[in-house]
C-alpha cells in the first residue's frame, strides 16, 4: 500500500464529515421540536422562552445558525450544550471512555468467541456440536438486545445475585486501585455480555460459512492431497475466511453503538448511548450533532483500518 493512498483516504474523511454534519444539522432542525421546553420547564412565560431562544441563537434564521455552527466547528468549537451548560466536547469526552469500554469489550469478546465457535462448527459440520452452535447463533442473532438485557438482569442479577443490575461502580463503596478495576469489571459483565451476544451470533455464522467455503476450494484439496495435517489445512482456510468477517466487524461499529444506546439505558451505564437518548428527548442539538459526527468518523476510520487489515490478511491485495 502506498503512503499516497493512505493520505488520500484520510483526506476524504474531511468532506465526508462536513457533508454528514450539514445533513444532520438540517435534518435535526427540519424535524419538529423545541429545545426551549426542556430548558425552561412547564411554567415559564413567553418572555422567558424568548430570552432562552435568543441566548442560544435559536431565534436566528436557520441558514445563519448553520453558518455560525459550521464556522465554529471549523475552529474546533462544537458549541455549548443547552442542557448541561458546558462545552459539548467536554460533555462528550467525559462519557466516551465508558462507551468505549463497553463496546470494545463486547466487540473483542464476540470476535474471539465467535471465531472460535465458527471454526469449531465448521470442523464438525453437520454433527451435533455444529447443530447446537447454528441454532444458538440463530437465536442469538434474532433476539433483541433490550429484551435480552431485561432477561439477563432478572436471571443473572436478581435471580442469582451474582451481578449488579445498574451502574459502572458500586454506589455504596468508593474503591481505588485494583479493587476499583475489579468493581468496574463486575459491573461491566452483564451489559457487555448482552451487547456481545448479537455480534457473537453474527460472527459465528460468518466464520463458519467462510471456513466451510474455503475448505471446499481446490487449493485446500491440493493441500490435503499433499498430506498437510488437518490443523494446518484449517489454518489456511481460516485466514482466507477472515476477509468477509473483518469487513463485517468493521462495518458493525455503527450498529454496535446503536445497541449500546439500548444496553446503556437498561443497565444505567453512563456512556454516550445514554447521553444520545437524553439529548434526543431534550433536543440538545449541539450534543446530538457532536455524537453524529463522532459515530460517523468512527465508521469512516474503521473502514480505513479495515482496508489496512485486508493487506495484512491477503498479501495479494495492493492499493495504489
Amino acid at each position: 500500500m502506498s503512503g499516497r493512498y493512505l493520505v488520500r483516504r484520510l483526506a476524504q474523511v474531511v468532506p465526508a464529515a462536513a457533508a454528514i454534519l450539514i445533513t444532520a444539522f438540517v435534518v435535526i432542525h427540519i424535524a419538529p421540536g423545541d429545545p426551549v421546553l426542556a430548558l425552561a420547564g412547564q411554567h415559564g412565560d413567553a418572555a422567558y422562552y424568548a430570552l432562552i431562544r435568543a441566548k442560544f441563537g435559536l431565534d436566528r434564521p436557520l441558514p445563519e445558525q448553520l453558518l455560525v455552527y459550521a464556522a465554529n466547528v471549523a475552529r474546533g468549537d462544537l458549541g455549548v450544550s443547552y442542557v448541561h451548560g458546558r462545552p459539548v466536547a467536554s460533555v462528550v469526552l467525559e462519557r466516551l471512555p465508558a462507551t468505549l469500554l463497553l463496546m470494545m469489550t463486547a466487540l473483542i469478546a464476540s470476535s474471539i468467541v465467535g471465531i472460535a465457535l465458527g471454526v469449531g462448527a465448521a470442523r464438525r459440520v453437520d454433527r451435533p456440536a455444529d447443530l447446537i452452535v447454528r441454532i444458538a447463533a440463530l437465536v442469538g442473532y434474532a433476539t433483541p438486545s433490550f429484551w435480552l438485557a431485561q432477561i439477563a438482569a432478572l436471571t443473572l442479577a436478581l435471580g442469582t445475585g451474582w451481578f449488579p443490575v445498574q451502574g459502572i461502580t458500586d454506589a455504596r463503596q468508593v474503591w481505588t486501585g485494583w479493587r476499583y478495576a475489579a468493581d468496574v469489571i463486575h459491573h461491566l459483565a452483564l451489559p457487555a455480555l448482552v451487547l456481545a451476544i448479537n455480534e457473537l451470533a453474527l460472527t459465528t455464522r460468518l466464520v463458519r460459512t467462510g471456513v466451510l467455503e474455503c475448505l471446499a476450494t481446490d487449493y485446500i484439496r491440493t493441500a490435503r492431497a499433499k498430506g498437510l495435517p488437518e490443523r494446518s489445512v484449517v489454518r489456511h482456510a481460516f485466514r482466507n475466511a477472515l476477509l468477509p468477517v473483518v469487513t463485517v466487524i468493521g462495518g458493525r461499529i455503527g450498529m454496535l453503538f446503536t445497541g449500546a444506546v439500548l444496553v446503556e439505558t437498561v443497565f444505567a451505564w453512563p456512556g454516550l448511548g445514554q447521553l444520545l437518548l437524553s439529548s434526543i428527548q431534550t433536543r440538545d442539538v449541539p450534543i446530538l450533532l457532536a455524537l453524529f459526527l463522532l459515530v460517523s468518523l468512527a465508521v469512516i476510520l474503521t473502514n480505513v483500518v479495515t482496508d489496512l487489515a485486508y493487506v495484512w490478511l491477503d498479501p495479494r491485495i495492493r492499493y495504489e
Binding site: 424535524a31 419538529p32 421540536g33 423545541d34 429545545p35 421546553l37 426542556a38 430548558l39 425552561a40 420547564g41 412547564q42 411554567h43 415559564g44 412565560d45 413567553a46 422567558y48 422562552y49 450544550s81 442542557v83 448541561h84 451548560g85 458546558r86 460533555v91 467525559e94 462519557r95 465508558a98 431485561q150 438482569a153 432478572l154 442479577a157 436478581l158 445475585g161 449488579p164 443490575v165 445498574q166 451502574g167 459502572i168 461502580t169 458500586d170 454506589a171 455504596r172 468508593v174 439505558t265 437498561v266 443497565f267 444505567a268 453512563p270 456512556g271 445514554q274 447521553l275 437518548l277 437524553s278 428527548q281 431534550t282 433536543r283
Partner: protein, 539 residues
C-alpha cells in the same frame, strides 16, 4: 364493656390510628446516625443549581444542598426554614421575614439577607421560569434593611408568596459565590455551595452525585445520614430491579405493574405523594381546542366527557395509583378544591343524546356525521385527533376505544414533548390533547395559566383550549389580590363551577406518584425536596 364491644372499639381505634398515621412515618422508624442512602434518579441533572431552572432532574438531585426561606409541612402549609418568622403587611402588598442567625454556607461563610436579595434579583427572577412568570411582574422591590431582615414589596397585594419560597420554588444561593458571574455558567453549578443538610462531594456525569452530611447544618442533630448518593438510572424497570437487588434504597416513582409486587414484599415500604420537584398536584386533563368548529358546541364537549369512563383510565392506565378528578383544582389543594361539583360522569346514553341534539347523527357508518351543525359542512364525519406524549399512549388507546363506542372517531397522535408543545401552543394544530397540568403549590401558579384569557399564546402549558370568559378572568385577578386564604376559597369555587359548566377541559385523573424505599431506611419527607433531611438507614 363486654368482650365483643371491646373488640369492636379496639379494632376501630387500630383502624383510625392506621388511617391517621402518615404512610411516610412508621412506629419502628427510630432514627440512627450514620449510613449511606442511595437514591435512584431518572436523568442526569446536567448541573446542580436549582435556582436557574425548573428542570425536575436538577431539582430532584440538588435541593438537598439548599434551603428556601420557608419550607412546607405535610399539608402543604408554610413553615420556617432559613426564615424563622414572617409578617404580612399592607394587606398583603409587603412581606417581612426575620432570618435565622445560625446559618452558614458549606464553605463556612455566614448566610445573610444579602444572599436572599441577590438570589431573587439576580438569579430567580431572571432564570427560574416559575418564579419569574408568577412573581416577576408583581414585585416592586426587595429590601434588606439589616443582615437578618428581608422585605418583599409588591405593586399590589400578592397572595401566593408564602408557598413560593421553599427549596423547589426559590432555593437561596450564595452571593459571594455567584456575584459578578453569569449564574448559568458559574463553575459552582457543578460544585455547589449551599446551606442545606448535605454538602457536595463529587459529580460523575451521567453516573452519580455524592453528597456528605453537613455537620454545621442549622437544624441541630440533622441530618442523620453520613452520605447520600444520587444514582442515575434512566429506565424505571431497572430502578425497581436495583431496589430489589439492594443496590439502591429509594425510588421517586414505581411503574404501575411493579407496585403490587413491591407492596407485598416486607423488605420495602411505599407511600404516595402529589409533590414532585418538576411540578406538584398534577391532573391528567383533556384540552378541547375551542377554535375548532366541531368542538365549539359545549354539548359536544359534554358528550365527550360523558362518554369517558374515568375509572377505566384509573385502573388500566394508572393501575389505581391516583384518583378520578372531581374538580378542576387538585384535591391536594384542599382549601381551593371545590367539592360536590356537577362534573359530567360516565353515561354513554347521555353522550349519545347530546351528540344527536348537537346535530351529529348516526347513519350507516359507525362514525357520526354532521347534519345541520353550525360551521360544519353536512356529511362531515365526527373525527378528531388526540395529541399526547408517547408516555401517555394508553390514554390515546382508551380515548379511541371509549369515544369510538359513542360514534366519535379518534386518531391518537403521539408527539415527543419537544414537538408537542409548539404543535399545541404555537401552531394550535390539534383538536384534543391530554396534558398533565400541574397546579403547583398555589392555584395562582399552575391553575390560572390554564383558564385566564391572557394566557392564550405560544408559551407551553398555558391556556391550550383558548378559553375566554371575562367572569373567570375577573375572578382569577381577584383571587390573586386576596391574601387571606379563607376569602380565596369561595372565589376559586366560583371559578370551578363556571369552568365545569363551560368544559374547555375535561379533568380525568389526579396523578400522585408512589415513592418506594427499603424498609431498612425511613423518616422520609416525601412532600418536599428536602426529602432526606431527617432520613436514616440501618445498614
Amino acid at each position: 364493656m363486654r368482650r365483643g364491644q371491646r373488640w369492636i372499639v379496639l379494632s376501630a381505634l387500630a383502624a383510625w390510628v392506621t388511617w391517621a398515621t402518615p404512610a411516610w412515618l412508621h412506629a419502628q422508624d427510630t432514627p440512627t446516625r450514620g449510613g449511606t442512602l442511595v437514591v435512584a434518579i431518572s436523568a442526569d441533572p446536567g448541573h446542580l443549581n436549582p435556582a436557574i431552572t425548573t428542570s425536575g432532574a436538577t431539582h430532584t438531585a440538588a435541593e438537598l444542598l439548599y434551603n428556601g426561606l420557608l419550607g412546607r409541612d405535610e399539608r402543604g402549609d408554610p413553615i420556617p426554614d432559613l426564615a424563622e418568622s414572617w409578617t404580612i403587611e399592607q394587606a398583603g402588598a409587603a412581606y417581612r421575614f426575620r432570618l435565622r442567625n445560625d446559618v452558614t454556607w458549606h464553605d463556612g461563610t455566614r448566610f445573610t439577607s444579602a444572599d436572599v436579595k441577590f438570589t431573587f434579583e439576580e438569579v430567580l427572577l431572571k432564570f427560574h421560569a416559575r418564579t419569574k412568570a408568577s412573581m416577576g411582574g408583581a414585585l416592586a422591590g426587595i429590601d434588606a434593611p439589616d443582615e437578618r431582615t428581608v422585605v418583599f414589596r409588591f405593586k399590589q397585594p400578592y397572595a401566593p408568596l408564602l408557598l413560593q419560597l421553599d427549596a423547589t420554588e426559590a432555593p437561596i444561593i450564595a452571593k459571594h459565590v455567584y456575584q459578578g458571574s453569569d449564574p448559568q455558567t458559574n463553575p459552582a453549578n457543578a460544585q455547589p455551595i449551599g446551606t442545606g443538610p448535605f454538602k457536595f462531594v463529587s459529580y460523575r456525569k451521567g453516573a452519580e452525585i455524592r453528597l456528605a452530611r453537613n455537620p454545621a447544618y442549622f437544624k441541630k442533630g440533622l441530618p442523620y445520614l453520613n452520605e447520600l448518593v444520587m444514582r442515575v438510572i434512566p429506565d424505571p424497570g431497572t430502578q425497581v430491579l436495583a431496589l430489589e437487588n439492594g443496590e439502591v434504597d429509594f425510588l421517586w416513582g414505581v411503574p404501575g405493574p411493579d407496585q403490587n409486587r413491591l407492596k407485598a414484599d416486607s423488605r420495602f415500604r411505599m407511600a404516595q405523594t402529589s409533590y414532585h420537584p418538576g411540578g406538584s398536584n398534577c391532573i391528567m386533563t383533556v384540552s378541547f381546542n375551542l377554535e375548532r368548529p366541531i368542538l365549539k358546541d359545549v354539548r359536544v364537549r359534554r358528550a365527550i366527557a360523558h362518554a369517558l369512563d374515568r375509572d377505566a383510565f384509573l385502573r388500566q392506565v394508572l393501575f389505581s395509583e391516583g384518583r378520578v378528578a372531581t374538580a378542576p383544582i387538585s384535591s391536594e389543594l384542599a382549601w381551593a378544591h371545590a367539592r360536590g361539583l356537577n362534573m359530567p360522569s360516565f353515561d354513554r346514553a347521555e353522550a349519545e343524546r347530546l351528540l344527536d341534539a348537537a346535530g351529529w347523527k348516526k347513519e350507516r357508518d359507525t362514525t357520526r356525521v354532521a347534519r345541520g351543525v353550525p360551521g360544519v359542512q353536512d356529511g362531515t364525519r365526527l373525527a378528531i385527533d388526540f395529541l399526547h406524549f408517547p408516555a401517555f399512549s394508553k390514554y390515546g388507546e382508551l380515548m379511541r376505544q371509549q369515544l369510538g363506542a359513542a360514534g366519535i372517531d379518534v386518531t391518537p397522535r403521539p408527539l415527543e414533548p419537544a414537538v408537542f408543545a409548539p404543535t399545541v401552543f404555537k401552531d394550535r394544530n390539534f383538536d384534543t390533547n391530554v396534558i398533565s397540568y400541574c397546579n403547583g403549590p398555589d392555584p395562582e401558579i399552575g391553575v390560572r395559566r390554564m383558564y385566564h384569557s391572557s394566557q392564550i399564546g405560544p408559551a407551553p402549558f398555558t391556556n391550550a383550549a383558548a378559553y375566554r370568559n371575562e367572569r373567570v378572568d375577573t375572578l382569577f385577578d381577584l383571587a390573586g389580590l386576596t391574601v387571606e386564604r379563607d376569602k380565596r376559597t369561595p372565589i376559586y369555587r366560583q371559578i370551578q363551577e363556571i369552568v365545569v359548566q363551560d368544559l374547555p377541559y375535561y379533568w380525568l385523573v389526579e396523578t400522585p406518584t408512589t415513592r418506594a424505599w427499603s424498609a431498612k431506611c425511613g423518616s422520609f419527607k416525601g412532600w418536599t425536596g428536602l426529602f432526606a433531611e431527617a432520613a436514616f438507614c440501618n445498614r
